[in-house]
Subunit: 110 residues, 2 copies
């Protein structure tokens, strides 16, 4: 379980993968393995939350790192690069580095 909190000291990476529906399951497995085997052990990793789109055409990874430097260091890591190349072989992706500005829940006291 992960939390989205505008006061948390993390950066967020929303990565939207576009994939053929027949490869969606394979991509989910690939990203899960990469996270468990590599990303999770790297400095500054906070969380990765992998989503499958209901139409089969996308996978969204909502990931959190302590700092943008940690995220950049991950991208330069050869093991991480090997996994990302495998993802790139079956999907296009669009990584968006961002920060939470508002978090509104049904039970938020206004």
């Amino acid at each position: 379980m992960s939390t989205i909190d505008k006061n948390a000291d993390v950066m967020t990476l929303v990565n939207v993968f576009t994939v053929k529906p027949e490869n969606q399951g394979k991509l989910v497995t690939l990203l899960t393995d990469a996270t468990e085997q590599v990303m999770r052990g790297l400095p500054g990793f906070v969380s990765a939350n992998i989503h499958r789109s209901l139409d089969g055409k996308r996978v969204v990874n909502y990931a959190q790192w302590k700092t943008e430097d940690d995220f950049q260091a991950m991208k330069a890591n050869p093991e991480a690069g090997r996994h990302m190349k495998a993802a790139a072989a079956i999907a296009e992706f669009d990584p968006i580095a961002c920060e939470v500005v508002e978090s509104i829940s049904a039970d938020t006291f206004v």
Copy 2:
């Protein structure tokens, strides 16, 4: 604060807005107002988490609804439609209906 939990009984809507950097702040305000004034009062609303990209070119709304029917009903709501039209006037958007399949944290026990 919101939680991402693969066992939670919610559907997730990741909406990626592409915007001119000079309109990013305006779009954040528009989405925040729409959430507080309209979405938050609709049946099945769980949370909306609005993010600004660090490069100024995107806004990402990570939203949760109890069911897809609740989300579809929101889209048919005239008040919600008015806000979404205002967003569409300054941004393109790509809503992705999805579900969490894996959530891995640094402190997850393996």
